[in-house]
Structures are given as structure tokens and as C-alpha cells.
Amino acid sequence: MSDIYLDNNATTKVDRAVVDAMIPYFLEQYGNPSSIHKFADGVARGLKQARQQVQALIGCEHDSEIIFTSCGTESNTTAILSAIKCQPNRKEIITTMVEHPAILGVCDQLEKDGYTIHRLPVDKCGRLNLESYKRMLSENVALVTVMWANNETGTIFPVIEMAELANAAGVMFHTDAVQAVGKIPMMLADTKIDMLSISGHKLHAPKGIGVLYLRRGTRYRALLRGGHQERGRRAGTENTASIVGLGKACELALQHIEYENTKVKAMRDRLERGIVDEIPHSFVTGDLNNRLPNTTDIAFEYIEGESILMLLNKAGIAASSGSACTSGSLEPSHVMRAMDIPYTAAHGTIRFSFSRYNTMHEVDEVLKVMPDIVATLRKLSPYWDAQTNTPVANPEQAFAPTYS
């Protein structure tokens, strides 16, 4: 059996067609797009086409609204810093507690610099409360930045509605759509979203290429300066091959978006149902009615995620975990904590994320090994009664270790 890759929210395999589209830009058309000679004369056309391919996927009005960056993180950082630079009198930012670190890290830093950061909480299913959001909007807010879809649970936030509300209050709106683009259909031209971040490596393009969508007319201050590239909005010689690759990947994503929402979703659903039916004391986290079609995040109570991953890895299966141990931090993921998932479950969450490269057969393979993996680890767990094969009564009291 060949290895099974179910970690597509972390990163994806580059599509062969994407690689093929890129190669000429390494070996033949390697000139600087700003140069005037034959090594460069096709490059500008390649960039233009890529811009249009991205435009088609996200449904924005103009291809000049696409700014190529080096990654999702750069797009996020640029968006936030631009918004506060343009509006020096507005000292507040609204975001959520479950954003990617690429957003939270910048906000934490701004907080130290005197900004007020409103981090919207989520309920146990990972949902936002729009009423409290509305009350926060004011002329002191420089930016709302809310992710379109959560990378851990796949939960989708109502960003279109939230952007309308922000717009009505005269507040700029950015969304980190790194996990959403290519997985769910979007038509930005019909929304009030001002800025949006994309990362290539989540949709079968290479790592190290991203996009910041900037609605025409949105006030903007460049982060990287000193060059005319991207109309002066992002200086630095273009990563031509990767831009072309990202364009191709967007074209392919658009072709497959229905497949993603039917076939890929069916694989996800089957895995999820199979696991939850088969394995006691396991449950799916996040908003089950509003989720990316490719993602499921399952908590296995009384065991720890890294151990599960190690046994999965031994069985040739790649996934990831919200446990503390996989990240080197001491706390389980901030997303699990924000949803108030108990520690005995939060450390045992495993995220399976699919792509169009997966197959139903692979789902069955995972379903074959998963119950044994969980049983093996539960046998070692102080919260588990090996005799009765159930959790010990009152687990939290039965095992209450001295904090060390």
C-alpha cells in the first residue's frame, strides 16, 4: 500500500500540470520581466495570464486587483499594516480568537504598540456571535480581519455578511481566505470584501507564492517598497515561475471545484462517519453545518495527538494534530481552547484534510487501522480502564496528577 496523504490543509502536492507550466520560466523565459530582450518578452504575458487565472477563481472585477506576494503570511501582514498606516487615527482592530498565527502574531505586536485588539470569541462549535461583532464596529476601527475558513476545523465564517456590516459602518474588511480559496466557490465582485489573502501551496501550487487581493479604490500602503513591480504595491522582482504556477493551479482549482464539493466531500464524510461510529468517545469538532468540504477534525478522548500521529505514520498515513506536543508549545491549539474543548480531548484531536488526489480506497484503509491505534493508546492511558475497556469513572477525579 502506498502512503496516504491526508494533511492537505498543511500543504499540498504540486500538480504535475503546474510543474509543467513553470519549467519554461526557469530554463527559457528566465529574464527579468522588466528587461527588454527576448529572454523576458514572454514573461509579462505569463504574469498577465496568471493574474487572470486568479481573477477567474475568486471572481473579482479587475485583474489589477491581484497583487502577487511571497506567501499567505506576507499577504496577511501587508493587509493589516496597510490598513493602520492609511488610517492613523483609528486605533482598533477586530479579529477572532481562532485566526491563524499569521494574523494573531501581527495583532499581538500591534497591541504592544498601543492598539486595541478585539478578538471575537467562538462558541463550542466554533461559531461567532454577530451581534457582539456589530456592537464593536465604530469609527475607531481600522480593520476587521476574519478568516474565511478555519485551518484546523474547516469551520466557515460568514465573511460576506460581516463585510457588508463593516462596509455599512465605514470599516475596512480583510479576510484570510488561505484555506477557502479553491475549496468553495466565491465571487468577490459581489461582496464588500476589501482585501483577501491567498497562499499557493494550499491549492497545488508551490510554497512561497501568495496573493493579496486589493479591491480597486481601497486605500493602501505598500509594505515592501523600492520597486515598480505590482504597480508599486509590492516591490521585489517577481517570482515568475511560481506566479505562473499559481495561475495554472487556480485554473485547475476552478475546474475541480464541483469535484471538491461532491467527491472530495463524500470521502471526508465517509471517513468521519466511519470513525465516529466505530470508535467510542470520539467526536467531530467545529461547525458541522458550515465547513470546508475537505476537512474533518476529530477528537479522540483520553489520548494524545502526537502518539496517534506516530502510529498513523507507521501505518503510512499522514495527518496532523492540535496537540501541544506536535508544535513544541505547552498548550493545545488556541482553536481548541477557544472552543472550550476539554483538555483530555483537545490534546487528542486529529485533523484529516483531503484533496482531489485522495481516493475512497484510502478512506477505507484509514478506517481499517484507526480503531486499533486508538485502542492501543487507550490501554496505556491513566484515564482508561483496561479491564472494562471504558473510561474510568469520573476521569478527572480518578486521575489528578500533581502539577509538574
Binding site: Y302, I303, E304, G305, E306, S307, L309, M310, L311, N313, K314, S323, A324, C325, T326, G328, S329, L330, E331, P332, Y343, T344, H347, K379, L380, S381, P382, Y383, W384, A386, F399, A400, P401, T402, Y403, S404
Partner: protein, 306 residues
């Protein structure tokens, strides 16, 4: 993911002595469920001889936590309680052929469970003297709590001071921003202000407000003193090595293990092992404490590559 040694994997995939010992007469429970690692150790101790007849573990935790628990139960079987009390977390890590710095706390947890179990057997109350915070310095595995304590206890003022007392920040320097934040916080609590522009005055550095914590758990030398001393010894040996067309370079010191790079003629030849043994001997003579010298190539086993 972590780059675990083969020994860690062996104990993780085939754990020894899993489960609770029946008729156990000693139990130690330590760890923190919020941090995702917790361990119950049960022992059956012979009341006549105080020899540990059986030991078993139940662990909620990651691969290295399970491996540390498993290897611990093997190490202590057949020991008397007094012997078992001498087992250190470094012993546990050594039996596992090393742990990544971020995972050393798993071996600490093992040692503490053992102490707790023995205290339980003897009817004493076991107190944990060790607290753990978020890892700040990844190079030397120093956490925030340790740095905060040292800043409080020793009136540290600068990042350099912190490095001198704890080693934190002495490696790649990527954590200097975090160390400054800790300084800012602690100094604010003391009603002072952190000033990044002052440099540590030499006399400040000399003032050995005796880093108690390190001294208590390790040896009378501070880590920085130890590194300096090791450098000195290597320096003195260098001419001899160079005469043979080789050289030695200190790469890292973790606890009392010094990782060195042997270059030139020493590198890869059989003599390297002898040379390393020679260096180790010399170091121990000069420093009066146990020092282990290991080729830096061994270190890759310890380092997180993710």
C-alpha cells in the same frame, strides 16, 4: 515531526510494563493535563528489602512521554528504593539515546513520578519543586518560568545577563525579543523599567548571586561557567591536536554533555574515539565533575528538524 532516536521509537511502539501493577504498594501521579503529559507510575516494593519487584506505567502523552515512562520502568526494576532515588532525568534521556530539547520535560516527568511513588510508599508527602513554562530558548531548552525566576533572584537587567545566568539566548539569538519581553514584565513588577540600551556592567556579571536553581539541580558550576571552562580546556589541548593535523571545536553543551566537532586528521579516523576519550578525561580532571564528550554528529539525533 520530531526526530526521535531509534530507542525512543522502540519504547513507544513496543512499550514495556504498560498498565497498572496489581497489588502495587506505591503510586506516583504527576504531570499536567493542560500541557498534555501526565503519568501514573505504580510499583510493587518488597517490604523487607525495599527492592522494586515490579513497575508499571499509565501515560497520557506524546511519543517521548510514553517512551520515557516505558524506559523508566525498565531502569528501576530490581533497584532498591534508595538506588532508584538516584535515577536522574538525564539517566532516562540517556537510556533513550537522547531526547529533543523540547521533550526533555518528559524525562523530568518520569523522575518526578518515581520520586512521588517512593514518597507515597514511605508515607511522605511529595512536593514538586519544579515549574515549567513556555519554552523560550529552543537552543538550550530554557522556559519562561526559569528565566523569570532568574531575573527576579539575580537582579538581571539585560538579555546578556539572562544569557549569562541561564544560557537562554546564547545560541541562535532568535528568542532575544521574547527575553526582552520577560525582562520588561518582571522589571515592571518590581517597579523598574527595562532599558534595552544599557549593557551589563562587568561587575554585575561577576556578582555571583549564586544561581541557586541551577546549582541545586545540577552542579556548582553555572552553565556559562561550564562552557567557558570547557573552551579553556579545549584551547589548551588544541596545539597537540593541531600537531597531528586535526582540530576540535565545541558545538554545544547540554547539561554535562559536550558536543564537539573533530576536524582534520582526527575526523573519521579511529583515533577520534580515543581522542574524544582523552578530551573527556582531561575535562573531568580540570573541572572536577562528570563531563561526557560526544561527537556533534550524534547531536542530530537530539535536534528537532521540523
Amino acid at each position: 515531526m520530531w526526530d526521535y532516536s531509534d530507542k525512543v521509537k522502540e519504547h513507544f511502539f513496543n512499550p514495556k510494563n504498560a498498565g497498572a501493577v496489581v497489588e502495587a504498594n506505591a503510586t506516583g501521579e504527576v504531570g499536567s493535563i493542560s500541557c498534555g503529559d501526565a503519568l501514573r507510575l505504580t510499583l510493587k516494593v518488597d517490604p523487607e528489602t525495599e527492592i522494586i519487584l515490579e513497575s508499571g506505567f499509565q501515560t497520557f502523552g506524546c511519543g517521548s512521554a510514553i517512551a520515557s515512562s516505558s524506559v523508566l520502568t525498565e531502569i528501576i526494576k530490581g533497584m532498591t528504593l534508595d538506588e532508584a532515588l538516584k535515577v536522574t532525568n538525564q539517566d532516562i534521556a540517556d537510556h533513550l539515546e537522547g531526547l529533543p530539547p523540547e521533550k526533555m520535560h518528559c524525562s523530568v516527568m518520569g523522575r518526578e513520578a518515581l520520586q512521588a511513588a517512593i514518597a507515597n510508599y514511605r508515607g511522605e508527602e511529595w512536593r514538586d519543586d519544579h515549574e515549567e513554562g513556555a519554552l523560550v530558548c529552543k537552543c538550550f531548552a530554557i522556559d519562561a518560568v526559569m528565566i523569570e525566576e532568574m531575573v527576579w533572584a539575580n537582579k538581571l537587567r539585560t538579555v546578556e545577563d539572562v544569557t549569562n545566568f541561564t544560557k537562554a539566548g546564547g545560541g541562535c539569538a532568535a528568542c532575544h525579543e521574547d527575553i526582552e519581553a520577560i525582562l520588561e514584565k518582571v522589571l515592571a513588577e518590581k517597579g523598574e523599567k527595562f532599558d534595552p540600551s544599557i549593557c551589563s556592567k562587568p561587575e554585575d556579571k561577576q556578582k555571583p548571586a549564586a544561581p541557586e536553581k541551577i546549582a541545586a539541580v545540577k552542579t556548582p558550576l553555572t552553565n556559562l561557567q561550564r562552557i567557558k571552562k570547557i573552551e579553556e580546556v579545549l584551547e589548551s589541548l588544541r596545539p597537540a591536536l593541531m600537531a597531528d593535523g586535526g582540530d576540535v571545536e565545541l558545538v554545544e553543551v547540554i547539561g554535562n554533555t559536550a558536543y564537539v566537532n573533530m576536524t582534520g586528521a582526527c575526523n573519521g579516523c579511529q583515533m577520534a574515539a580515543m581522542t574524544i576519550a582523552g578530551i573527556q578525561q582531561r575535562l573531568m580532571e580540570v573541572m572536577g565533575e562528570f563531563i561526557k564528550v560526544v561527537p556533534a554528529s550524534e547531536m542530530s539525533k537530539l535536534v528537532n528538524i521540523a
